[in-house]
Every structure is written in structure tokens, then in C-alpha cells.
């Protein structure tokens, strides 16, 4: 579904992503694993069209993706929930969701989808007119995922959805991600929390300073010694 080949992205003269290649298959959860500064978020931003790659190719459903403007990427069916959630803090829950659906023209469909988000996260539905900034971290993460879902993406990219959440809230978010996958949405996940992410991943890649150093299924990586030492804190 998404194919990234030899992607190089730079901030000024510093290469943040140094020629990585990976695939995301339809209906899978694929995880990019790595520490701070490994280039995970940079990769997602490049796919979203927010950054322009130096070289390399990106293909989505057989169409070239590099060089496509950010708003066109959303129209093609890719949505991103950015790092740090980046909600519109002063806007109501409803307005945040409407902005997620900015690229869509079908008013009735948007309303139905909004109700679906409220079914998925009842806490958002009961406080739909409150401004996003007043919600707790976990609730904001729900809203961030809901907002990204509003464009009816076929590929949903989540940048560190577990960041700063309590263990219970994290489990809830992770099970939501799994149920979204079961509904048929392909998910590209970026995480630092290796244990939780690998458990639900169909495929995972380990990124280290801009390069992919390991790849395999979630289970394979969970059992890998290097992953255990570096990311799971086991000896």
C-alpha cells in the first residue's frame, strides 16, 4: 500500500533520514521503533508532505507520493496524528473534528463520522462543545486520533500516541488502534514504547540515527536480543 524507497530527508545540511526503505501492507499495523532523534517523526512528516525529501521515492497505492502537497496527501487517503497531538486547543471538540474533515465536501457524511467518533470515545461526545485544551492527556489523544479519522483515511499515521499517558490510558489507546486495524484501516505507528507497540504490530522496523537497522514481525523483534537490550530494558 505504502512503499518507501531509499528516502533521504535533511534539515538544512544535516541528514535526519539517511536512505531508508520500508513497506506498509494493506490492513496491517506497521511500527517504526526508535529513540529520540532517530528520524521517525521526520519520516512521517515527509510522507504527509510537510517536508520535502532530498531523494528517494514514496508510492501510495501505485501513485507517486513525493512532491505532493500536504493537503493533497490528505485527499489521497493518508491522515496523520502529529507528534504531541497538536490539537487546536482553543477550539471545541466538534470544531477539531470538523477540521479533521476539512478536505471533505459531504456534510451528511461528516456528521455521521463525527457520531461514530463519539461512539468510539463517549467522553468526547458528552463534552463536544468544550475546548480541546481543557481535556486530559488521554482524552486529547483520543481527540487527536478521532480528528485524523475524520478524513476517512485508508492509511492512518500515529506519531507517539502513548506519549505521556497513564498505563491504563495507554492500553485503551492501543486497543483502539487494534480495533481500527480490524475495521480495515492500515496503520503506521511511530513509538518509543517498544513493548506495547511490538505486541500489536504485524511488521516493525527499528530506526537508529536515520537508518533502519532491524526489521521483522512484531513477535520476531520482541524476541530479538538486541531489541530486548536496547528498547525493552531486559538483560
Amino acid at each position: 500500500m505504502l512503499e518507501v524507497k531509499q528516502l533521504v530527508v535533511a534539515y538544512g545540511r544535516v541528514n535526519a533520514v539517511k536512505g531508508i526503505s520500508f513497506n506498509v501492507e494493506q490492513g496491517q499495523i506497521v511500527t517504526l521503533l526508535g529513540t529520540n532523534g532517530a528520524g521517525k517523526s521526520t519520516t512521517l512528516r515527509t510522507i504527509s508532505g510537510l517536508l520535502t525529501p532530498v531523494s528517494g521515492e514514496m508510492w501510495f497505492e501505485g501513485e507517486r507520493l513525493d512532491g505532493v502537497a500536504a493537503h493533497k496527501v490528505v485527499e489521497k487517503g493518508i491522515a496523520q496524528s502529529p507528534e504531541g497531538r497538536r490539537l487546536f486547543r482553543q477550539m471545541s471538540v466538534e470544531d477539531n473534528l470538523r477540521l479533521g474533515a476539512f478536505s471533505r465536501k459531504d456534510a451528511a457524511g461528516v456528521r455521521t463520522d463525527m457520531d461514530r467518533i463519539f461512539d468510539l470515545f463517549p467522553v468526547l461526545g458528552s463534552r463536544r462543545t468544550e475546548r480541546a485544551g481543557l481535556f486530559s492527556g488521554g482524552e486529547q489523544q483520543m481527540l487527536a486520533i478521532g480528528r485524523a479519522m475524520m478524513s476517512r483515511p485508508r492509511l492512518l499515521m500515529l506519531d507517539e500516541p502513548s506519549m505521556g499517558l497513564s498505563p491504563i490510558m495507554m492500553q485503551l489507546i492501543m486497543s483502539t488502534i487494534r480495533s481500527l486495524r480490524d475495521e480495515g484501516i492500515t496503520i503506521l505507528l511511530v513509538e518509543q514504547n517498544a513493548a506495547a507497540a511490538l505486541k500489536l504490530s504485524d511488521k516493525a522496523y527499528v530506526l537508529e540515527v536515520g537508518q533502519i537497522t532491524l526489521e521483522g514481525t512484531g513477535e520476531q523483534l520482541l524476541g530479538d536480543d538486541r531489541v530486548k537490550r536496547a528498547y525493552l530494558g531486559e538483560d
Binding site: R98, R131, R147
Partner: protein, 576 residues
């Protein structure tokens, strides 16, 4: 001031404090029956015993309010019920005392300056000052009230409508009255007591209740506002002086509303906005049929307006397309330069340095008055027995223009495009990630705002009779921006108020106009420190400026919920 007196002291002394405060207010009220000044030439003569002048009667309004605010809690202790919590009695009383003192000080200063020394202040003035000082000192001992939440007060619709109409009527006659003061001292005294009363009512919670009433009766509000604005020329008895100021205010306000889209909604800093007004004015002047016009073609005025708007918005596109890709500061610099380039270019299009289009620094003068279907804007007409002069004609025309601009602005604000604009302002990267075409939307705002300025410019050309490049200097851009920031970015009402203040004060206060840059600068600094969201706050803006203030957030949240239906209308089919 709150720090000095401990809370337990305040609670213990609140009853004596109220009584002493009442004495202070009574002294002030009593003082209006005394002579304030030895001479009779200042403040429209306040030098008589036993016969209050009109200005002294207005002066008494604040102390009378003070008496009510102090006496009701004193006499009604334990019997106020929910009214004890709905209204901020103590804080209102304190505000009232402080403003009474301010107005008293203004009056005494006017007497001393106007007649040459404090010896000219008669007992009345001193009694009033003593009363005001007593009132301020005693109200400092009152415990702080909780924030007013009068907006919780449910009231039948007819009461709300009546209140709106009442406010509008007060506005009309207050404005007519205020404008009729020829002398700065009277204008300042009356103006200060009006501001004082407004501040007290705000503390009291009246405006939070009114804003709910206004949101519930939007149509009544808009209609009555326009009826009042339309009726204004009839209160002027054919006086041209005030109508001239009023139409200048409207032209200025229309331009500021255009800038409000760019600055207030999208958050783009434009420091050369006056150029778009100038482009519209020059276009209209060139097509006006004036003897100095460089093009012979004279289209009908509606077409001129469209052409002027289009020329301005094309300039907006020209300047926006290369610069809107860069962020904040660069845009400010480029637009600042653009404003200057525009002025210099208009100076140079004189036939020597370039083609002759504008006659250079002489500009285009002798622009004929507008004429719609035989209605000559240059002539005075008599309607209902009242003279309606040239300026009133242009005033009405600008009123129509402003009405259109407000309708466009409100529709944009609550539309899909408006939501995209606000998203860009709040977090441009997040907006882009959501699929908002940020560049196109910013360009649209830039061109749209420029179009509105061009339309205002087309009317301004005829109103001013002549158009010259030096009318469109950077300072004017700065004033436009100041009007938007002072009034309240992103709001209509705020920008109207800001534009009125910035245009009216220098006209009425001559001494003020010499120092207007200094004083406006000071005003802006004070505003930025104490109320960065402007006089009238857009709720979202207010929250952006006070992100850490959770109590305010909850308060605004509750007010917004009370108004919810109107602030978050269900999107219409065409809206999405």
C-alpha cells in the same frame, strides 16, 4: 492594592467600610449643589450655588451608582438570596469609587488649568474630592466579590429585547450628546464618567448578561444597531462638523474590518495595509471624471467600486503570492516595504519618472461628488424637516458598505473557510497536516481583505475630493493595526469601537492630537500588559492569550455554553 489589607480585616470591617463609603458618595452628590469654580468659563460653567449644571448632574451618576452598590448589600443583608452571588457588589463599588475619583480629578484639573491655578477651585470641588477619596479608601476595605455571573440569570425574551433596544437608544443619544461638546474639558469629563459607568456595569456583570441576550436575539441586535446608526444624522441638525467626523470614522472602520480578516482571523501581520485603501482610492479617482483624471472613461460608480476592489486584491495577490510562503516576521517586513513602495510609486507616476497616471505628488483633485439616480451626494437635502448635509450622505453610503462588509465577515468567520483560517492562526503545521491548504487560504484572506479596503478607498476618494500619495503613509497602517488590536482582534464590535476611539479622540481633543503618537503608544503598552485580547474579546483569542489561566477558561467555557447554539451553529449543507 489588594495585597495591603489582609482578608480577615476586610471581612471584619466590611459594614463600617460600607457606611463610610456611603458618606463619601453622599458628599460627592451634595457637591453638585455647590459652586465648583470661581470663574464661569470652564466646564460649561460650574460656578453656581444651589443650581447644578448639566455636567454636574452627569457627574452625580457615578456616586449615585455607588450609593446603590453600597446600600443594597448593607440594608439587604441576609435577604439578597441568590442576588448576593449573581452580582459582584463589592468589586463594582470599588470600581465606582475609583472612577468617581478619576472624574473628580479631571474636573478639578480642568478648572485649575483653564482658570490658572488651584485657587480657582471653589468648595464644591474640594468637597467632591474629599468624598471621592473617602469612598476609594473605604471601598478598599471591602472583601473581593466572586466574579460576577449575572449571565446565569434567566429572563424572558421581551426583557432581553427591551434591554437591547434600550442600550441602543442610550448609545445613540449618548454619542450625539458626547459629540456636541466643543471643548476638550467637557468632552473629557463627560467621556470619563461614561467610561466609568461602563466599567462599573461591566464589573456588575451587566455585559455578560447582555452578551447572552445579544446572542439569543441576534437579529434584533443587528437591526436595532443599524436603525440607530442610520438615525444618527437626524440628531445632528445639519451640523457638518460631527457628520464629517462620523463618516471618517466609518471609512476608517471599514478598512480596519478588512485588516481584521488578515490580522484577526488568520493571524498574519500586515504593516502596509493602507496601500490597499490607497489603491482603491487612486483607481476611483482616475475613473471619476475629474478634470485631473488621467483616464477619460467614467464607469458607473458600482462598476468603479468593483474595479477598485479588484485592483486592490490583485495587488494583494501580487504581494502575497511570493511572501505568504514564509512565516510571520518576514511577512511583516515585506508588507511594511510594500506600503512604502506603493506611496513612492504613486509619487513617481507623474509623467516624468514614469507614465502619467496619478499626477505625482499633486495627486488627483476636484473629484466630483457621487450622483445616484439624480441623488447628488454633494448637496444638502431636507428629510423630515431636518437638514441632511453632504457628509451625512457619505455617512449613509459608508453605512451600507460597512453592513455588507460585516455580513461577509460574519459568514466567513463561521464557515469552513473561517475555521481553516482560525486553525492556521492556532497551529499552522497542524492545520496543514489536517489537509488545510494553508497557502491558498492565506492568499484568499490577503486578497479578500485587500478587496474590502479597495472598496472603502473608492468611497473615500469621492468623500475626500482629492487623492494624494501622502495620505497613505505608514503611520496610517500603524493606526489601522492599532484599531484592530485595541478593539479586539477577530471581533466586529471590538474593531468598530477601536476605530471610533482612534479617529474620534484626536478630533475632539486638540491637545491630544499633538501627542497622539505618544499617547496611543502608551495606550497600546497598557493594553498589552493588562488586556492583550483588546476591549472586546473574541473568546478563542482570549483563551490564547491566557492559556494558563484555568479559572478564566472555565468561566469563558460556561459563558460559551450559554451561547453555544449561536457560536457553533450546525454547519449548513453548503458550508462543508
Amino acid at each position: 492594592m489588594n495585597v495591603i489589607i489582609p482578608d480577615d480585616v476586610k471581612v471584619r470591617f466590611r459594614v463600617p467600610a460600607r457606611i463610610i463609603g456611603l458618606v463619601g458618595c453622599t458628599l460627592m452628590i451634595a457637591s453638585i449643589f455647590m459652586s465648583w469654580s470661581y470663574g464661569h468659563t470652564v466646564l460649561d460653567d460650574v460656578g453656581y450655588w444651589g443650581a447644578p449644571s448639566p455636567l454636574q448632574l452627569y457627574y452625580a451618576v457615578l456616586p449615585v451608582l455607588g450609593v446603590l452598590l453600597l446600600a443594597v448589600p448593607l440594608l439587604g443583608r441576609g435577604r439578597l438570596g441568590r442576588w448576593a452571588k449573581l452580582v459582584a457588589w463589592n468589586t463594582s463599588a470599588k470600581t465606582c469609587a475609583i472612577w468617581s475619583l478619576a472624574v473628580t480629578a479631571v474636573m478639578i484639573a480642568s478648572i485649575a488649568i483653564g482658570l490658572g491655578g488651584l485657587v480657582n477651585v471653589d468648595p464644591g470641588g474640594w468637597v467632591a474630592l474629599a468624598g471621592a477619596l473617602i469612598a476609594v479608601a473605604s471601598t478598599l476595605f471591602l472583601p473581593d466579590s466572586p466574579d460576577p455571573n449575572l449571565y446565569r440569570l434567566k429572563s424572558p425574551q421581551w426583557v432581553q429585547i427591551l434591554a437591547i433596544v434600550g442600550v441602543m437608544a442610550v448609545l445613540l443619544f449618548g454619542a450625539a450628546y458626547l459629540l456636541n461638546f466643543e471643548n476638550a474639558d467637557q468632552f473629557l469629563t463627560f467621556g470619563a464618567s461614561v467610561v466609568g459607568v461602563v466599567m462599573v456595569l461591566r464589573q456588575f456583570g451587566i455585559f455578560s448578561w447582555l452578551s447572552i441576550a445579544a446572542a439569543n436575539n441576534n437579529r434584533v441586535l443587528v437591526t436595532s444597531a443599524f436603525v440607530v446608526a442610520f438615525a444618527f444624522p437626524f440628531t445632528q441638525n445639519g451640523s457638518d462638523a460631527n457628520m464629517s467626523i462620523a463618516s471618517q470614522v466609518l471609512i476608517f472602520a471599514a478598512t480596519a474590518l478588512g485588516l481584521n480578516i488578515v490580522v484577526g482571523l488568520v493571524g498574519l501581520l500586515d504593516l502596509g495595509y493602507i496601500a490597499f485603501l490607497g489603491a482603491g482610492a487612486f483607481t476611483a479617482a482616475i475613473l471619476s471624471g475629474s478634470a485631473f483624471a488621467t483616464i477619460d472613461w467614467v464607469p458607473p460608480f458600482w462598476l468603479t467600486v468593483l474595479i477598485a476592489g479588484t485592483v486592490s486584491s490583485l495587488l494583494g495577490l501580487l504581494i502575497g503570492a511570493p511572501t505568504l510562503r514564509v512565516s510571520g516576521d518576514y511577512l511583516a517586513i515585506v508588507t511594511l516595504a510594500f506600503g512604502e513602495i506603493f506611496r513612492i510609486t504613486m509619487n513617481n507616476l507623474d509623467g516624468n519618472d514614469g507614465p502619467n497616471l496619478t499626477n505625482g505628488s499633486n495627486g488627483i483633485s476636484a473629484i466630483p461628488d457621487l450622483n445616484f439616480f439624480g441623488f447628488d451626494f454633494g448637496k444638502a437635502h431636507v428629510i423630515f424637516g431636518i437638514d441632511i448635509g453632504r457628509f451625512a450622505n457619505y455617512y449613509w453610503l459608508m453605512l451600507v458598505v460597512i453592513a455588507i462588509i460585516i455580513v461577509v465577515f460574519m459568514n466567513l468567520n463561521y464557515s469552513r473557510i473561517g475555521r481553516g483560517w482560525v486553525a492556521i492562526r492556532e497551529d499552522e503545521l497542524a492545520a496543514e497536516a489536517m489537509g488545510v491548504n494553508t497557502f491558498a487560504l492565506k492568499l484568499l484572506a490577503f486578497a479578500g481583505g485587500a478587496f474590502l479596503a479597495g472598496v472603502a478607498g473608492a468611497v473615500k476618494a469621492h468623500y475626500d475630493v482629492s487623492v494624494t500619495p501622502d495620505q497613505y503613509v505608514f503611520l496610517e497602517s500603524a493606526f489601522l493595526l492599532a484599531a484592530v488590536v485595541l478593539g479586539g482582534m477577530g471581533t466586529v464590535m471590538g474593531v468598530l469601537i477601536g476605530a471610533t476611539i482612534l479617529k474620534l479622540l484626536p478630533e475632539k481633543l486638540r491637545f491630544f492630537s499633538d501627542y497622539r503618537l505618544l499617547l496611543f503608544g502608551l495606550l497600546m503598552v497598557i493594553m498589552m500588559r493588562f488586556r492583550p485580547e483588546g476591549i472586546i474579546a473574541d473568546e478563542r483569542r482570549q483563551l490564547e492569550f491566557h492559556d494558563e489561566d484555568d479559572a478564566l477558561a472555565v468561566e469563558i467555557q460556561e459563558e460559551m455554553r450559554a451561547k453555544h447554539v449561536h457560536l457553533n451553529p450546525e454547519p449548513k449543507e453548503w458550508d462543508l
